[in-house]
């Protein structure tokens, strides 16, 4: 990537996630909590991932060894909130940007024209397109939350690190007379991190030494997915298993040679 393409913003706050893969049991509580919090409609057939709206997905990893040497792990994948988001630079209508303090890549639904360039550009498959209007079974729409508007057919959507929770946390801080730019670690946590029963998902300001993610992201066991692409994800993963870390950058064979 040329230097001119690097649009890395230097924000005072850089919200980030560190997911400890060695603690993830793949229970799916994070996926359900995300869906409920962000008004993602249920789908009787969600197994076609190309058609089903989802913001957070859990992948099952394998070390590809034969029984009994086989090992497995689970990898939850939210939006990476890249430092250099490839989605933002291709959006023709500025519906997705990375210009707000905190470094969360925005998605403005009323601006989206559904061209799906961003989906093609995103190397993490974090973005989903609404092929159909959202439908909740009769009565279930009563459980819609007031936090995120519902999205119609023809619009791309993605994880926002539960951005509305940050807005609420800032408001609360202002009410208490505290600095909204220096929030306590527990003041703003996305729904997935809040419910995770093993505490595998950590969240906080990667720039703030008082937040655990600041330390965890610098762990020798930390890695980011497809780091070689230069997208600078704000989601880090932790694993003490070498094979898991190695799969974080899953290049083609010729690229491995070039980089070695």
């Amino acid at each position: 990537m040329s230097e001119s393409m690097r649009i890395h913003h230097h924000f005072e706050i850089r919200w980030g996630m560190v997911i400890d893969i060695d603690k993830c049991t793949g229970c799916g509580a994070c996926v359900v909590a995300c869906q409920a919090e962000n008004n993602i409609p249920p789908n009787p057939d969600p197994f076609d991932r190309m058609r089903d709206p989802h913001w957070l997905i859990v992948y099952k990893l394998s070390n590809h060894k034969k029984f009994p040497e086989h090992d497995t792990a689970y990898l939850p994948r939210p939006c990476m909130q890249c430092g250099n988001p490839s989605c933002a630079s291709v959006c023709p209508v500025i519906a997705t940007t990375k210009d707000e303090e905190g470094g969360i890549v925005s998605q403005i639904y009323p601006r989206c024209i559904g061209c799906r360039y961003c989906m093609a550009a995103c190397p993490y498959h974090s973005r989903v397109f609404n092929w159909f209007d959202p439908v909740w079974p009769e009565g279930m729409d009563k459980t819609l939350t007031p936090f995120v508007s519902t999205r119609p057919r023809g619009v791309v959507e993605k994880c926002t690190f539960c951005h509305h929770r940050w807005q609420i946390a800032k408001e609360e801080a202002r009410k208490r007379g505290e600095n909204p730019m220096h929030l306590d670690e527990q003041a703003y946590i996305p729904a997935c991190a809040e419910v995770c029963p093993t505490g595998a998902i950590h969240f906080g300001d990667l720039h703030n030494p008082e937040h655990i993610v600041h330390k965890l992201a610098r762990s020798p066991y930390a890695f980011r997915i497809l780091e070689n692409l230069g997208t600078e994800p704000q989601v880090y993963y932790l694993s003490r298993r070498d094979w898991v870390r190695k799969q974080g950058d899953n290049h083609f064979r010729q690229e491995e040679k070039k980089n070695s």
């Binding site: 060695d22 603690k23 993830c24 049991t25 793949g26 229970c27 799916g28 509580a29 996926v31 359900v32 909590a33 409920a36 249920p42 789908n43 009787p44 969600p46 197994f47 089903d52 989802h54 997905i57 099952k60 394998s62 590809h64 060894k65 034969k66 029984f67 009994p68 040497e69 086989h70 090992d71 497995t72 792990a73 209508v93 639904y109 009323p110 601006r111 024209i113 209007d133 959202p134 909740w136 079974p137 009769e138 279930m140 009563k142 459980t143 819609l144 939350t145 007031p146 995120v148 508007s149 519902t150 119609p152 023809g154 809040e194 419910v195 995770c196 029963p197 093993t198 505490g199 595998a200």
Partner: protein, 694 residues
């Protein structure tokens, strides 16, 4: 006026500049963008005051505290209650999906009765009660005329059912099979232990899990996950597949399906070799040791379990070196197993002196009863429902005239679906108190819907797996959106109609009395706090060998080595519980490869696939003595060779579109068998045939 070339170019330039500078075009584009997304059929989000209310999850799975977020008093989301000892702020997929499940299309909207054409028609509550009282009246005093199965093992409703049936003269009150029920029966009936078993995972430094999925379906799963997440306990998993627990355990020890009891006794052999002797010496210790020494040398155990003799010895050494080891045994699904693996695991804990010690097994006093303080037949120690069905099928007990089904879906969840449905066909009148139109409700004659747990007052006393006794209230957070009545109150009223006094006028009164008996504060309980007690029962007369134990263990010696592929069931909370079916908001949590079309994936490793001559993605039929299901092959090296891993929770024929037409019901592959010695009846299927689907 003539238009010359210059004029034309000026017009074009002016038009272009005007188009760029005027806001009209941009405003129109913006409006088009907004209004083409603003259709009336797109649901609107609510506005209003936000608050949070505590409750306790009661859906036939692990029970723990919830925080329910509401907008204008309408529940919207659930998260874990940090103040509840079994949640500590964590939640599982079913709990997280529980608010939306309240609006499942399969909710029963009102009391209904089946007509002669087999269709359900609405009926008024008063008429339904009158009808039921009329049917029950002539059955009073007949021992076998009325039976009840309940899926609620922690609520006081079981007391109400127990008392009601006793008043009617029937002892047939049963719980749906579960690991907790089986484990406590082995402890109380076979090993002569006192109280109910708790497991202090929190203070253990080494957890050896023998088959159950500790972090997804066994015991207090959310608390188990919290304990694991703290990273202070080493976790070793022995089982036939890499499930949620194995995926994060320090090591996975692959063993043949259903051989964990053998592994436990092989470890006991190694510990004896190292000179270990329990103090005080339990009754029957010498006979137990003799049995273990005769049948469980490492080489013999290696053949039984598939684990090498060296690996067994290393594991035994690790157990002895740990300061606070704890062995967890059970079934892979948490829905009951024969007594042998429970006994083997408990005996190992006993040898390692892990009873009533920190990080070991705690023996907890049983629940305080209000309606029958003097005791009476305890629902917990009574025969399980599988055994009852078996006895009815063999004519040992007369089939009931009326069957009550409460918070349970036995027609789907019990092993040997064919035998279970045959049983239901013999019952002339089934009354169902379910919230959902599940498989059992669809077979019932009268539906008297109980409100959803978020719509009613209920309680939860020490769910299985908890290290200490605890009591909390499941509080209503909203009014019922359907025409439902609390079942316990209904039974109290019904008893009154039949001239029986159950001792309380309402269920709320019963809960208040229970609260007083426990010494808990009602005000604090209703604010979402939990009563806890660290009291344990000291043990005397523990037994390692007697006639029933000998029968149970010797029956294990008659088994033949695996000739055809073995079967191992896997379960997880994403598929809900047997009562709920697949929760609408739980489906997205499944892995993409778990379901393809209407076929669920069954996992086998590459070597097994070669032996069977099947390939990845191929549609197959699994057949056992009990039945068959269709499935799709998924190659996975996380399954032991010569074994097929079959997911449970799929294959619903009732409930809603989120549950139907997804995979086959794994329970239909299991045969119902009763174990010699323990008398525990459970589903077994150690042999399965795999053929390519036509």
């Amino acid at each position: 006026m003539a238009l010359d070339r210059r004029g034309f170019l000026m017009f074009l330039a002016g038009g272009a500049a005007g188009s760029v500078l005027t806001p009209t075009a941009w405003k129109l584009t913006d409006d088009i963008s907004i209004w083409t997304q603003n259709w009336p059929w797109i649901p609107r989000i609510p506005t209003g005051a936000l608050d949070e209310k505590p409750s306790v999850l009661k859906l036939g799975s692990a029970e723990y505290g919830l925080k329910i977020k509401r907008v204008n008093k309408q529940p919207i989301t659930a998260s874990g209650n940090p103040n509840h000892p079994l949640s500590l702020g964590g939640i599982d997929a079913l709990g997280a999906a529980s608010v939306q499940l309240m609006y499942s299309p399969s909710r029963i909207q009102q009391p209904m009765i089946k007509n002669d054409q087999g269709q359900f028609k609405p009926i008024a509550w008063s008429k339904a009660l009158e009808l039921l009282a009329g049917l029950l009246k002539p059955l009073q005093g007949q021992t076998d005329a009325l039976a009840c199965v309940s899926g609620d093992s922690t609520g006081s409703s079981r007391e109400v059912f127990s008392k009601f049936l006793r008043a009617m003269g029937s002892p047939h009150v049963y719980l749906q099979p579960a690991d907790g029920l089986a484990q406590n029966r082995v402890w109380n009936d076979l090993m002569q232990g006192q109280g109910r078993l708790g497991f202090d995972l929190e203070n253990s430094d080494l957890l050896l899990v023998l088959e159950p999925d500790l972090l997804d379906t066994w015991g207090a799963t959310v608390k188990n996950q919290k304990v694991f997440g703290r990273g202070k306990t080493e976790l070793i998993y022995a089982g036939a597949l890499q499930n949620s627990t194995a995926a994060v355990a320090r090591s996975w020890l692959p063993i043949h399906p259903g051989s964990s009891g053998h592994l436990a006794l092989a470890l006991a052999y190694c510990l004896f070799k190292q000179g270990l002797e329990p103090r005080p010496v339990p009754k029957g210790f010498r006979e137990y040791r003799e049995f273990v020494r005769t049948h469980y040398t490492p080489d013999q155990a290696a053949r039984k379990t598939g684990l090498s003799a060296q690996a067994i010895q290393n594991l035994a050494q690790k157990l002895q070196q740990a300061s606070r080891p704890l062995i967890i045994s059970g079934s892979t699904t948490g829905e009951g197993a024969p007594g042998f693996p429970f006994f083997a695991g408990l005996s190992l804990n006993l040898l390692l002196k892990r009873i009533n010690t920190s990080g070991g097994i705690t023996c907890l006093p049983g629940p305080e009863t209000v309606l029958d303080p003097a005791g009476g037949p305890s629902i917990e120690n009574s025969q399980d429902f599988c055994g009852y069905i078996q006895d009815c099928a063999t004519g040992k007990i007369k089939s009931p005239e009326i069957l009550f089904v409460h918070e349970a879906n036995p027609a789907y969840a019990l092993p040997d679906t064919r035998k279970t449905t045959d049983f239901f066909d013999t019952v002339p009148f089934t009354v169902n108190f379910s919230q959902f139109m599940d498989e059992t409700a669809a077979r019932s004659d009268l539906l008297l819907p109980n409100p959803y747990f978020l719509e009613r007052l209920d309680d939860s006393f020490t769910p299985f797996g908890s290290a200490m006794n605890n009591y909390s209230l499941s509080l209503p957070v909203t009014q019922s959106g359907v025409d439902a009545k609390p079942t316990s109150d209904l039974l109290i009223a019904l008893a009154s109609t039949l001239d029986h006094d159950l001792g309380v006028r309402s269920y709320a009164e019963l809960l208040r009395k229970k609260c007083r008996r426990l010494g808990a504060d009602w005000g604090r309980l209703t604010s979402g706090e939990t009563w806890t007690s660290g009291k344990t029962l000291s043990q005397s007369g523990l037994t390692l060998w007697n006639q029933p134990i000998a029968s149970m263990c010797r029956a294990q010696m008659t088994g033949t080595p695996q000739a055809t592929p073995g079967l191992v069931l896997e379960a997880n909370r994403k598929t809900g519980s047997s009562r709920t079916g697949l929760p609408p908001f739980g489906l997205k949590a499944h892995l993409e490869e778990e379901l393809s079309g209407a076929l669920a994936a069954v996992r086998i490793n590459r070597q097994t696939a070669e032996q069977m001559n099947v390939r990845n993605g191929q549609a197959v039929t699994l057949t056992t003595q009990a039945g068959s299901i269709q499935a799709r092959i998924l190659l996975d090296e996380g399954v032991v060779t010569n074994t097929v891993a079959v997911p449970t929770g799929f294959g619903h024929t009732a409930l809603d579109m989120f549950s139907q037409n997804k995979g086959g019901n794994a329970n239909s592959l299991l045969s119902l068998s009763c174990e010699p010695g323990s008398g525990l009846c459970s589903g077994t299927a150690f042999e399965v045939q795999v053929s390519i689907a036509s």
